[in-house]
């Protein structure tokens, strides 16, 4: 094992992150290497130096100041999003649903346009006949036709 690697392992051992196999290899190296034995003191010294810094604390009211800055979350929108996302993996099902709805609508509208059947009555008696008279009374054509008919007699 090289000294650089051994010092790295000493650093890991200080943090409690050295597994047993590498621990054995490190111990073997350290038995014959005073320079690497010094590494443990070095790393402990670095930790001690870092501990000099005081722990900064937020001022009182930190949380209250933060909470008033939170943007409102759109809960309803997320519910819709979840619903739409639930449909997204099955586009064929959604298409089929839309097609079925369209067919139902078409059948319903067709039914609305149909007239109800007339009530059954006497087939020999005409109740109402709608006819188109091309020469209605009072029109010039009707007057002309009456003159021609009388002169022909």
């Amino acid at each position: 094992m090289r000294c650089r690697k051994a010092k790295q392992l000493v650093s890991a051992r200080k943090d409690g992150e050295l597994d047993a196999a590498r621990g054995v290899a490190l111990r073997t190296h350290l038995e014959d290497c005073p320079a690497c034995q010094q590494a443990a003191d070095d790393w402990a010294g670095v930790s001690a130096a870092l501990a000099v810094l005081e722990t900064p604390e937020p001022r009182p009211g930190f949380t209250q100041r933060l909470i008033v800055r939170l943007p409102t979350r759109q809960i309803g929108r997320s519910v819709w999003s979840e619903w739409l996302e639930a449909l997204r993996p099955a586009p064929l099902a959604a298409d089929g649903l839309a097609l079925a709805a369209g067919m139902l609508m078409a059948v319903w509208m067709n039914g609305e346009q149909r007239q109800p059947a007339p009530p059954p009555g006497d087939p020999t008696q005409t109740v109402y006949v709608e006819s188109f008279d091309p020469l209605p009374d009072g029109s010039a054509a009707a007057k002309y036709l009456s003159i021609v008919t009388e002169s022909g007699r």
Binding site: S11, D15, Q37, A40, A48, A49, A51, V52, P56, I67
Partner: protein
């Protein structure tokens, strides 16, 4: 509510519950404030607090995408957000590094001034040296070292925060410690005996 685990509070926040989020903030604002201060070497407590608030605002916005995973702390998730915000902040060239000669209110509380001025001055000087040395480290080494030394995170948790492997964390910590040792001079390196009586006695 105060006993609820962190991940439940984040999920409640994702549903729009600011009360649950407030508990989460109360639980972790000290750690995030500390991280921001250490990582950026900020000399201005208000600035550090603003950034810590930005971290929580980003966490509130990101809460709907949070998915709890076994073995992954919510604190790691928050620290990851904090790391990204700190890196963006540095890119904005607004950093006042610890090498500044201004007195750092993060380092020594106001109330300490009246106790023993000589010891206070010495502690301030030592703290400034340490912050200057920390600021010299590359960001990844600095983040790994801060997360290990101040937040006591495991290598796996650090790897989660800075998005790397456990073996890379081990190497980062080794390189960071080596660089810090070299940066700190012998007399700065020697801690005051009344504060750290046992550090050199630590056995192999």
């Amino acid at each position: 509510m105060t006993d609820r685990p962190d991940d439940e509070l984040v999920l409640a926040a994702a549903r729009g519950d600011p009360g649950a989020f407030a508990f989460l903030v109360e639980r972790h604002h000290g750690a995030l404030m500390q991280f921001v201060c250490r990582f950026l070497g900020l000399a201005d407590r208000n600035q550090a607090e603003d950034l810590a608030q930005d971290v929580f605002l980003a966490a509130w916005k990101a809460a709907p995408t949070f998915r709890p995973r076994p073995g992954v702390l919510v604190l790691s998730w928050l620290l990851r957000i904090a790391t990204n915000i700190c890196l963006n902040y540095r890119r904005g060239a607004c950093l006042r590094v610890a090498a500044s000669l201004d007195r750092d209110p993060c380092a020594v509380p106001e109330s300490a001034d009246c106790a023993e001025p000589e010891i206070t001055a010495l502690a301030q000087e030592r703290a400034e040296c340490v912050r200057a040395a920390l600021a010299e480290l590359p960001p990844m080494q600095r983040a790994a070292l801060i997360l290990r030394e101040y937040h006591d995170l495991s290598y796996a948790e650090i790897a989660e925060v800075i998005d790397t492997s456990v073996s890379a964390v081990e190497a980062l910590l080794f390189r960071g410690r080596s660089r810090l040792r070299d940066l700190l001079t012998a007399e700065e390196f020697e801690p005051p005996p009344q504060v750290f009586p046992d550090w050199r006695a630590e056995s192999l």
